[in-house]
């Protein structure tokens, strides 16, 4: 026997009411028998798009979110055109009365059908989502011919129809909706005047200066704006509007009036039913009213003294309510919302969030104004976080700002980055602004449209799932942040996929846990890790990462199973597109000699190397080498491996330094050679490319290396870490300034070891440094705040001591066939024993 369903009555089928029902159905499809009361005779529609209906760019049917069929499909009983008037809490019944067809649904005194039978619905739970009604400032003559509100689909139709008979229209209210109404009216060929009671437009979102700038732009479009105008009377002649009289004694000739002066919550049903009502229906953090079985959501709610009229907070409320009511998360709480909007007002880009002006003495205000382009940007920073921002005319950084504002995250010390995008990174764009054909993942050629589809249709709500579905983020990974933003934008929130934190996909542990388990169990080979920590399931995609980790964890003791190495590390060369390899001999500090060059040239000729090329790291690359030639070439070269192929220390470039350069302040060549001798072949989570510069002119690009040392006046060296100049460009962070080569080597080594121990597999230093923060790293590596500096120094020394040139394997291959070309099989049929 199925248990009796609980009965849920929802009062109001506007955006909030319908959304909360959707959220409930998502969590518990069959839990409730749902009945909805909707005072308007329609299904539910997207009120935000109303102005599009007014200006004709969308038809009324296009903005329906849930057509009547939706209610039927989901087994919801809708009383359309019936206004709920009272909740009888004794009998647990909601009472409604059918409205006359022409009745104004949200009016306090909406006309009921005379003598119609009342509708009664019993309930276990009620959700009140009555929303709000437009506010009409007190004035004589409002109502009747030529006066309109701007709120419902019917309003739009009627405004558009009436405008055909008019030359001039007045819009009362200079807020967002008022401006939208004015824009809509303009398309109907009437002259429009906006009347605002406050001294400026959009007072909720803009400060006076931005308000004035917006006003100038709007007036340039041909719309008249009058501020500080309070309408006292609508004067008619022969039944038609003739003019408006204002409080200051002035007048304005007009043919019609549209009022859009804000909203007031609809709370009568709560008052008459004995619920606590203040400015609106008072709700707790679980969206409960003063009656435990009655909830409320949306514009009719007062939560912690605030009433929200924007979509995002209401969506958040709906989620919490659904979590609580379905028991999906009985402890869910709504703690209030931060407000921010990004919109286009009459073609003007605008973003506004939080405060519009400073309110505390220590608030920092950053302002940029460019009147000739109508651009105004303002930032209010409090405790190094965004307390408010206004972007008018140019909103490139709005998406990022909004995220930082909502997340309450600490902001860049360069405030200009927040207003104009980072000087070091790509332009900061809101993902919403990108067209569908924009390529997000440049490695795998995945467009925003494809990702959007995966999110919305494929229901991929984690970065890993989107990657699995589209391949986005599976190349260099630098677009993962954008993918996360897209998920946030189109699915609400990013689901944290635990697997994203695993060190390797095939072992369900984060790096720190994995390291602890490996040490506890004494696992020294990749196959042992699979056996003990992955249920015996071998995963090829995890082998290489595990090998790298084990080698760092067990220096000298690691059981080096060669099948766990990537081909490059099996043969100490870099595989090319045609299956050949490259040979890059080490050239310490980029300094070579005629004898060495001669040997390289001879080897290149002897083995018919198709291409000899300088690498980006000041070395010679012999490309197109056959696998079985590799060991012979190494022997002939007699130079150690340059490690141009593995996740390890690669090279240290240098400039001319002090020997010949007329600017050199420090011996960058000698330091680079010392660095290369010391750290050659040191494995790490990802490759490390280094450079030393003899002066801040940075000829060797040390500022943008994983680790860089730059000589400065006074015999000092600056050490930079986390720089990048590949797919990602980032200037390294200054770790510290030291006095000698030895100190450079020591601190670089200490940082490398810390990175080896704490970096995620395939996490470059520029991500690692950003993830931990330079201050944290400096505390640990330079200040020794954790008391581990000596241990780190010892560990890196051990790794240095363990270094062996891998090209020595030329003499004795590590395993049979290490450098073999495909073996020619002798095709001799085998005589089978059929017995």
């Amino acid at each position: 026997m199925t248990p009796q369903k609980q009965k849920l009555v929802v009062i109001g089928n506007g955006m909030a009411g319908a959304r909360v029902v959707e959220e409930i159905l998502k969590r518990a499809r069959d839990r409730f028998e749902i009945v909805m009361f909707g005072a308007e005779p329609y299904g539910n529609y997207n009120r935000i798009l109303l102005s599009n209906v007014l200006n004709g760019s969308q038809s009324a049917t296009e903005i329906f979110m849930n057509p009547l069929a939706w209610y039927a499909e989901n087994g919801i009983k809708l009383h359309a055109g019936v206004k709920a008037t009272k909740i009888d809490r004794e009998r647990k019944v909601v009472i409604g009365s059918p409205l006359k067809k022409e009745a104004l649904a949200y009016a306090v005194d909406a006309a009921a059908v005379p003598d119609a039978a009342l509708v009664e619905e019993s309930y276990d739970h009620v959700i009140i989502a009555t929303g709000s009604r437009p506010f009409v400032p007190p004035m004589e003559g409002f109502g009747g011919t030529g006066t309109f509100l701007f709120r419902t689909i019917d309003d739009c139709d009627q405004i558009a129809e009436y405008a055909k008979t008019c030359k001039h229209a007045a819009v009362i209210g200079g807020g967002l909706l008022g401006l939208e109404a004015a824009r809509g009216l303009m398309t109907h060929g009437v002259e429009v005047t906006i009347l605002e009671a406050a001294p400026q437009l959009m007072i909720a979102q803009l400060d006076p200066e931005a308000g004035q700038m917006l006003r100038d732009t709007i007036e340039d479009m041909g719309i008249q704006v009058m501020c500080e105008k309070i309408t006292t009377k609508i004067v008619r002649e022969d039944g038609r509007i003739k003019r408006l009289d204002f409080k200051d004694g002035s007048t304005l000739a007009t043919d019609m009036v549209v009022v859009s002066a804000g909203i007031r919550p609809i709370a009568e049903i709560a008052s008459v039913s004995g619920l606590t009502v203040n400015k609106a229906i008072v709700c707790d953090d679980q969206m409960r009213t003063s009656d435990r079985s009655i909830f409320a959501v949306g514009e009719c709610v007062e939560h912690r003294g605030k009433i929200y009229g924007l979509v995002d907070p209401i969506w958040e409320q709906a989620k919490v309510l659904a979590d609580v009511l379905t028991g999906f998360n009985p402890k869910a709480e709504y703690l209030g919302s931060k407000l921010g909007t990004k919109l286009k007002v009459m073609g003007v880009e605008l973003a506004s969030m939080g405060d519009t002006k400073p309110s505390l003495p220590d608030d920092e205000v950053v302002v940029y104004r460019e009147p000739s382009r109508g651009v105004y940007k303002k930032l209010i920073v409090r405790d190094n976080k965004i307390a408010g921002a206004i972007l008018l005319g140019e909103t490139d950084t709005a998406g990022v700002l909004m995220q930082m504002f909502m997340a309450n995250s600490a902001v860049s010390s360069r405030r200009a980055d927040l207003l104009f995008g980072s000087a070091t990174g790509a332009p900061v764009l809101s993902v919403f602004d990108l067209p569908d054909h924009a390529q997000i993942c440049n490695c795998n050629g995945v467009t925003k449209g494809a990702i959007k589809e995966a999110i919305m249709i494929g229901k991929c709500h984690s970065v890993a799932k989107v990657g699995g579905c589209t391949k986005a983020g599976l190349g260099c990974g630098s677009c993962k942040g954008l993918v996360a933003q897209l998920i946030e934008a189109y699915a609400g929130e990013v689901v944290d996929d635990a697997s994203e934190h695993y060190y390797v996909p095939g072992v369900a542990l984060e790096k720190s846990q994995l390291v602890a388990e490996i040490k506890r169990l004494g696992l020294k080979s990749v196959s042992a890790v699979f056996r003990e920590l992955a249920g015996g399931k071998e995963d090829p995609a995890s082998k290489v990462g595990l090998a790298s980790l084990l080698k760092t964890l067990w220096p000298g003791e690691y059981d080096d199973e060669r099948d766990a190495r990537f081909i490059n590390d099996r043969v100490h060369a870099n595989i090319q597109k045609d299956g050949t390899f490259s040979v890059v001999p080490r050239i310490y500090g980029g300094v070579t000699s005629p004898a060495e060059l001669r040997r390289i040239a001879e080897v290149a000729e002897k083995y018919n190397v198709p291409m000899v090329k300088f690498t980006g790291g000041q070395r010679l690359d012999l490309l197109g080498v056959k696998k079985d030639d590799l060991p012979k070439m190494w022997k002939d070269l007699g130079i150690p491996s340059g490690h141009a192929y593995t996740k390890s220390f690669r090279t240290c470039k240098s400039c001319v330094g002090t020997d010949f350069c007329r600017y050199g302040l420090g011996d960058s060549i000698k330091l680079a050679q010392e660095i290369e001798h010391r750290f050659q072949g040191i494995e790490s989570p990802h490759k490390m490319k280094l450079a030393t510069a003899g002066c801040p002119r940075n000829c060797s690009e040390a500022y943008v290396k994983d680790l860089g040392a730059v000589a400065i006046e006074g015999g000092l060296w600056e050490i930079y870490i986390g720089g990048a100049a590949g797919g990602t460009i980032r200037k390294g962070d200054l770790l510290c300034t030291v006095k000698s080569h030895d100190e450079v080597l020591k601190l670089m080594g200490r940082f490398m070891q810390y990175y080896r121990e704490h970096g995620k597999y395939l996490e470059r230093t520029y991500h690692f440094v950003e993830r931990l923060g330079i201050e944290t790293i400096r505390m640990i590596v330079v200040e020794d705040s954790e008391g581990i500096a000596a241990r780190l120094d010892a560990a890196i020394q051990q790794a240095v001591d363990a270094y062996k040139d891998p090209w020595q394997e030329a003499a004795v291959p590590a395993y049979p066939g290490q450098f073999s070309a495909p073996e020619l099989a002798q095709v001799l049929e085998v005589a089978e024993n059929n017995g």
Binding site: A541, K543, V827, V830, E832
Partner: protein, 105 residues
């Protein structure tokens, strides 16, 4: 047992393939990759990745799969099914007998 359309070819000692790795063999005009998994299972596929002809025998293998060394396309060694749509590789029957690798064509 050989049917009239199949032939069995002896590729030589199993020791030619290091444990857990693959190795390519030129069999007449085709290159065939043979994999020797750590659990003792043998697999054989065409050596050329259908994507950009990467040598699959050089890929990291295990758990019944191989990852192409060039662009990390994955293939199931038993069925030939690839990780990318419309990509798969030809597989061959291969077994070990008396320490030798026997490939069936």
């Amino acid at each position: 047992m050989n049917t009239p359309n199949t032939r069995t070819i002896n590729l030589g000692s199993l020791d030619k393939i290091p444990l857990g790795q693959g190795r390519s063999f030129q069999v007449e005009d085709t290159q065939i990759a043979v994999f020797r998994q750590r659990d003792g299972k043998l697999f054989a596929t065409q050596n050329a990745c259908p994507h950009k002809q990467g040598p699959l025998a050089e890929g990291v293998a295990g758990g019944g799969k191989v990852i192409c060394p060039l662009h990390s396309h994955k293939f199931d060694l038993a069925t030939g099914q690839g990780s990318e749509p419309h990509e798969c590789v030809k597989t061959y029957v291969v077994r070990e007998a008396g320490g030798e690798i026997l490939l069936q064509l």
